[in-house]
């Protein structure tokens, strides 16, 4: 028989719940916290005092409520004093941001990605982190860093097992960064970019309040971040969600992963650009140029956009049948593709998706846009703090 949770555990959980609430929702009055968390007033007061004592939140009198009575104090996350570094390692660029508690981007830098292994990619990240650290207030506290990467990431230690479009195999990305800056970064967590975008949109974007979502992230490659029943579905080792490598066309083109006819060979950037006869170009601007040309009436571009839209619809319909999500989000360059070919995507989904699985599915574009990867990486870094704020 298991004994009930101890006083200590309950307090830790309540502290975590309160801090997470303030982190996700932003400034909120004590009175609202009392009703939202279902704890009594004095408990909220004591928990807030504990969190304020270690500088995680601050309290202030509200500006003016226009109502009678003593106004309830407003609890605010200390975004400028508690922060994490977030990095996004993409095929053609690297972005680094300093993100305060509450999901506020305080500082942001970007550079082209140097070719080569993780050691090379880590160099500009470490430089940016060191630069940003110079302007930080001395009393501020860094929680650690999170990195979003387009590749398969081992959950237990952040080893990038495979980054087909980065040319990486078994690259210890997290360790490489921490080894460079052991004094600045207490911990470094690594996650897949689609998973982290899904996490960010679920925490503070278009998917707030939705427990079954699929975030389709596309650039050169395509991956999905899946949240089912409110939990991130990342599989046994952390490699799940590689929908871009579903084989949809056994007679199709060879894929970077070694297989043939993977979904990303039909809906990735290269597929669109090839179909539009622009093989030489790359990147999101090239994708937008095709969409623009299609909108202006360029017949080749129109066919290319429709063809990719058709394939996108095929795959999404299969995913909808498997996961029965309430929301499918198209991020990365798939946002542009979806908005330009929604008629094809919807038509395919409506004709292949089972009526019961598709009836409530909403197709959306991200609310956080390109910041999702950085905010998701920051969430990863904040996770431990939110689980045990005083630990």
């Amino acid at each position: 028989m298991r004994a009930g949770p101890s006083q200590e555990e309950i307090r830790r959980q309540n502290l975590g719940a309160l801090l997470r609430f303030v982190h996700v929702r932003g400034s909120i009055s004590r009175a609202e916290l009392t009703s939202e968390l279902g704890l009594n007033r004095s408990t909220i007061g004591a928990l807030t005092a504990d969190l304020a004592a270690v500088g995680l939140v601050s309290e202030e009198a509200p500006r003016e409520t226009g109502r009678a009575g003593r106004p309830s104090l407003v609890v605010r996350p200390s975004s400028d004093l508690v922060y994490a570094y977030a990095a996004s390692v993409e095929v053609d660029r690297i972005r680094v941001a300093r993100v305060g508690l509450g999901g506020v981007i305080l500082d942001q830098r970007e550079a082209p990605r140097p070719h080569g292994e993780a050691i090379e990619a880590v160099r500009p990240v470490a430089e940016f982190v060191a630069q940003m650290a110079e302007s930080v207030k001395p009393q501020a506290r860094c929680i650690g860093a999170g990195i979003a990467v387009c590749g398969l990431v081992r959950r237990e230690d952040g080893l990038v097992r495979l980054g087909p479009h980065l040319g990486w195999l078994d690259e210890p990305l997290g360790h490489a960064l921490q080894d460079r800056l052991p004094d600045l970064l207490p911990q470094v967590a690594v996650g897949n970019v689609a998973d982290l975008c899904a996490l960010a949109e679920h925490t503070r974007g278009v998917a707030v309040g939705c427990d079954n979502i699929i975030y389709m992230y596309g650039d050169v490659g395509v991956g999905a971040g899946i949240i089912a029943g409110g939990r991130r579905v990342t599989g046994h080792g952390g490699y799940g969600g590689e929908v871009g490598h579903m084989v949809v066309n056994p007679h199709g083109r060879p894929c970077g992963c070694g297989s043939r006819g993977c979904w990303e060979t039909e809906i990735g950037e290269q597929a669109l650009l090839r179909a539009a006869g622009r093989d030489t170009a790359l990147g999101s601007e090239a994708v937008l140029a095709v969409v623009e040309a299609a909108a202006r009436g360029d017949a080749t571009a129109q066919v290319a956009v429709r063809q990719v839209g058709d394939w996108l619809g095929f795959g999404v319909a299969n995913l909808v049948n498997i996961f029965n999500p309430e929301l499918v989000i198209f991020g990365g360059t798939l946002r542009d593709v979806y908005l330009a070919s929604a008629a094809q995507v919807r038509s395919r989904l409506n004709s292949i998706g089972l009526p019961a699985t598709r009836e409530h599915v909403r197709l959306r574009t991200p609310k956080l846009g390109g910041d999702a990867a950085l905010l998701g990486a920051a969430e990863l870094a904040f996770e431990q703090l939110l689980a045990d704020p005083l630990g």
């Binding site: 937008l288 330009a340 929604a342 038509s347 409506n350 599915v361 197709l363 959306r364 574009t365």
Partner: protein, 256 residues
């Protein structure tokens, strides 16, 4: 599904001997985008002007939130929370964003205009729509891009606690990046709880953001269907021939 925000039944409208709308029905739910589509001359604009109180209807029922109402002029429509954003946007180039949003309905404190309140409300409205492209609400409208103008016109419609916003071809004449932003804005309006009617000729726009599609054909409502139940080609058939398989007008109606 709950009570529709707007329900029209058996709407007829003639201009002299020409019957433009014939027994038209339309339902619009809060939180949804209802796309209103149809060929040129199908009656889309007339229907919208009837909803907005610019044209009185000859006969038919007009219900807001389940209750019959009488709409004789635009002021009546506005009092029921109906706002229309026309293609030309009706913005004044020589005024700034705040002045445009409150044009004709300025807030006053005593004798003078309450500029701080209006500015704050304008900022709140734009922030509520997650609009990041507009730098200052004191910018003159003449300095804005086409997409930003559309955004201001939509924000102006949302400002008045409106319940139903009707958008007439909001993405016509915009570039791709701006079209994308406006589409996302249209979607966000509905996701924030408003009822939205979107008039569009662009099938992608319709499929990208709508929940329901209402297709007019020669002044009659061919069909109102859920976007999740139809394909592109079915919708094109509804527009061009008024029917598609079991959907749409019955045979003799289509032949008329």
């Amino acid at each position: 599904m709950g009570t529709p925000l707007l329900e029209l039944r058996g709407i007829n409208k003639s201009f002299g001997p020409v019957q433009v709308l014939r027994d038209v029905a339309l339902t619009v739910h809060p939180g949804e985008v209802t796309a209103l589509i149809g060929d040129n001359g199908a009656g889309k604009s007339t229907l919208v002007k009837c909803i907005g109180g610019i044209y009185p209807i000859d006969s038919g029922e007009y219900l807001m939130e389940g209750k019959p109402v009488h709409v004789h002029n635009p002021r009546d429509a506005a009092s029921h929370g109906v706002e229309i954003v026309y293609q030309d946007l009706a913005l004044c180039d020589n005024l700034d964003i705040v002045q445009n949003m409150f044009l004709g309905r300025e807030k006053k404190s005593g004798m003078i205009l309450d500029e701080p309140t209006m500015e704050q409300l304008a900022q709140q409205t734009l922030a509520g729509l997650s609009v990041r492209t507009v730098k200052s609400v004191r910018q003159q409208v003449s300095s804005l891009s086409g997409g930003q103008r559309q955004t201001v016109a939509i924000a102006k419609a949302v400002l008045w606690n409106s319940k139903l916003v009707i958008l007439d071809e909001p993405t016509a004449a915009l570039g791709v990046a701006q079209t994308q932003q406006v589409l996302e804005l249209v979607r966000r309006l509905a996701d924030n709880g408003l009822a939205v009617v979107l008039i569009s000729h662009n099938m992608n726009d319709v499929f990208a953001v709508s929940d329901q599609i209402a297709a007019l054909y020669l002044g009659r409502m061919a069909a109102q269907v859920k976007t999740s139940d139809v394909t592109h080609s079915q919708v094109v058939e509804l527009i061009t021939s008024g029917r598609s398989g079991t959907l749409g007008l019955v045979e003799e109606g289509a032949a008329a």
